[in-house]
């Protein structure tokens, strides 16, 4: 403690510069804490598990132009041909997929007149959807062949009022039936009861959002009968490129009067969906680095100035017996004191900035553990920035004391 005293006395004579430095550290600390939190949120969003066998899936969107045709028959014909492509292990027609943005959201209750509800995305597909997606069944069973009915899209998806069974995600099961076995229970997206026959580990909704219930999904045994549909093909990772090429050719050969949208892998779908988030992460990381760099610049610049200004006093200290380590420690301690003041101020600013952001943007509260981590980062930064000037100071020879300038 005794060595703080002369430092404080000396800092007292440089209030302006010292407070500028502390302010710089505080501002950086506040911004870095909040930006780090944003990075963490974006990163958590982009690494959400989709629940599907991502590296084995290829998808092709197809739209028949003949709306008078029986779409179920058209889809079945297409699927039969797609399954013939060498390397295709299974295929299904679906109306929704994680990241494809086609989101049919409905409120779901546990009884027709319950007040509480969950918002969930509804997924419909032909037989074999579960297996093709590679969803992991953690309880119950897959749909039986006799449970499938048409979606009846032409009449406002009327099938939802007649479907008898559903498979839900574990997350949704826990929210709808906390602490209970969901199997055999009924859910009510509309007025008719639908029995839960299976639970899958994960199935991400077609659109995700930070802070939302992204895993609230329900699968129904309803075959999409819209003229536009997504065909999903399961294949070995190495076969995907060839299967994609052949899928488009196969579909056009069956019926040239249709639109086949660029076939793509699920990996690509996911990457495209999160492109903005990934760029945001890159930008945020770059800004943290930039902030740290500029702050270090300020600290080093000022330290250099101080060392030059105090060359004589350093010489005198050395002449009266201070070792090099003492001089080094003097500057390090001084920096530590200034950064500490800045960090204390910065922690308060960080919380304030977070409150300000929360008032204007959909952001949650900053977890408190970011504050000590941010503080630590700035202490380390301060010590690194001071090292070179402090070492230079410690090399000032005692003989300087005897010179006049």
């Amino acid at each position: 403690m005794t060595e703080f005293k002369p430092i404080l006395a000396s800092l007292g004579r440089h209030k302006l510069i010292a407070s500028l430095l502390a302010l710089l550290v505080a501002l950086t600390c506040a911004i870095v804490c909040n930006v780090a939190f944003m990075i963490q949120r974006q990163d958590a969003l982009t690494s959400l598990p989709s629940g599907v066998a991502e590296d084995q899936l290829v998808l092709v969107e197809s739209a028949n132009l003949d709306r008078t045709a029986n779409q179920l028959v058209r889809h079945d014909t297409d699927l039969a041909a797609l399954r013939m492509i060498p390397g295709v292990e299974s295929a299904a027609a679906v109306d929704a997929l994680p990241f494809n943005g086609d989101n049919w959201t409905s409120s779901v209750q546990t009884s027709p007149d319950a007040q509480a509800y969950q918002l969930a995305s509804l997924f419909n597909g032909t037989r074999g959807e579960l297996g093709t997606l590679g969803l992991k069944l953690v309880a119950g069973r897959d749909f039986r062949a006799d449970e499938y009915i048409p979606l009846d899209a032409g009449r406002g998806n009327e099938g939802i009022r007649h479907v008898a069974t559903a498979i839900i995600t574990k997350a949704l099961a826990e929210r709808l039936f906390p602490g209970q076995n969901p199997l055999g229970k009924s859910i009510y997206p509309y007025d008719n009861p639908i029995r839960v026959v299976g639970v899958v580990e994960h199935l991400l909704r077609p659109g995700v959002d930070a802070g939302a219930d992204n895993d609230n999904s329900i699968l129904f045994p309803m075959s999409p009968d819209t003229n536009s549909v997504t065909y999903l093909l399961r294949t070995a990772p190495g076969e995907r490129a060839r299967v994609m090429r052949q899928a488009a050719d196969t579909l056009y050969r069956l019926d040239p009067d249709r639109v086949v949208r660029d076939p793509q892998t699920f990996v690509q779908l996911r990457a495209d969906y999160f492109q903005r988030e990934r760029e945001m992460i890159g930008l945020l990381v770059a800004s943290v680095i930039g902030l740290m760099f500029v702050t270090a610049l300020g600290i080093t610049g000022l330290a250099n100035f101080w060392v030059l200004q105090r060359t004589r006093s350093i010489g005198i200290r050395r002449a009266v017996g201070a070792r090099r380590a003492d001089i080094l420690r003097y500057f390090q301690t001084e920096n530590f004191l200034i950064v500490t003041v800045g960090v204390v101020l910065g922690v308060l600013l960080a919380v304030g900035l977070n409150l300000l952001l929360m008032a204007h943007y959909p952001l949650p509260r900053l977890p408190l553990w970011y504050l000590p981590v941010g503080a630590l980062a700035l202490w380390v930064l301060g010590q690194l920035a001071i090292l070179a000037p402090a070492l230079r100071a410690s090399r000032v020879p005692p003989v300087v004391a005897t010179r006049s300038v």
Partner: protein
Amino acid sequence: MFAYYLDLAVRSLKRNPVLTALMVLAIGLGIGASMTMITVLHVMSGDPLPGRSAKLFVPMLDPRTPDHAQAARAGARDTPDAFTFVDAMNLLREHRADAQAAMSSGSAAVTPADAGQHPFFANGQYVTADFFQMFGAPFDAGTGWTNAQDDARARVVVLNAGLARKLFGDASAVGKLVRLDNTEFRVIGVLRDWHPQPAFYAQHGARVFGGADQFFMPLQTAMELQLSFRGHFSCWGDGAESRTSDQCTWLQFWVELDNPVQVFAYGRYLDNYWRDQQAHGRFPRKDAPPHLFGLMAWLAHEHIIPDSLSMQMWLAVGFLAVCMLSVVALLLAKFLRRSGEISVRRAMGARRRDVFVQFGIESALIGTLGGLLGLAIAQFGLWSIRQRPDGYAHLAQMDVPMLFGTMLLAIAASVLAGLLPAWRACLVPPALQLKTQ
């Protein structure tokens, strides 16, 4: 004197090139980052229809049940952003504004005349007759359709220049037939590549900036043919989830009101409509009266500019603040190291003001250099934003006011940053410093 101070400043900056470079770099980074984001927000918050926007309004009615409104609020939507078909048709029929139109986005498969080519999807807008005149969409050839054609569900279409050129080359498209989703439509008009930015009239979504609508066809024709619609389709209650239900919102509705009297009168009309419908058991949310938004207010209400962008701008401004603070510290150090020189000048008769001006000029010089660097960095930043996949990416260009704004900001910031150090420098007393020499 200015030239002399400038010369002094250049000498001083040359004396310590590393420090000078670091200061210029700090200013350049801060200015570059913030000007990139400010430019992006500036171009995005522009008026999509200059001259017309003040007369365009969005009426908004909330037909939802309180339950549904609550569920939607959990999804961060407090007011509905669309109309039911029933209300849109009522307002169209009653015709109380100078012009009014209902619309929805959609897409259709276009079959090229050349049989060798595969059909492709084009994005378009299903609209009612007043749309073109109300928004002043410029026709290259032909015209729009009439209210009678709306009611008759006519198979007519207006193409935007891009699709017309793609289908018919340089030949006139008007009068030609085009197959959209397997139905023949007669082209009655071609627009002169019309794509207001943002596409304010559509439901806000990923496509609001960027791609232009390629075709426009009568709304009720599209409904009769069950073409594909895009955008939110939000239903409540137990009715059938059909496009014609009064319990499903999905349409955008715009009115043109030429003067404040009409705006007031239309507001009154909406209130009456709302009460009248309530008497018939609709609009159960008594706490949500109708609202009339102006165009720019509507864009703000709909958060047309992504939150992430404005957040990035504030981050950049914060970064600039840190850079400036750092430059203040460096300048202070640099100026005070020259206390000896200052005191000599002061002793030889320079006034405080002279010293202040001298150091002010030195800071301004650093600011100018930093501003130039910032300009280059901002150009690079805008270039990298143009590589983004977002629809607004192509807008990220710096216009002349932004160019001047950048330089002004850089010089203002650095003069501001230099104020405190210059003031401290001019306080250096002549005598005391000379004694220590």
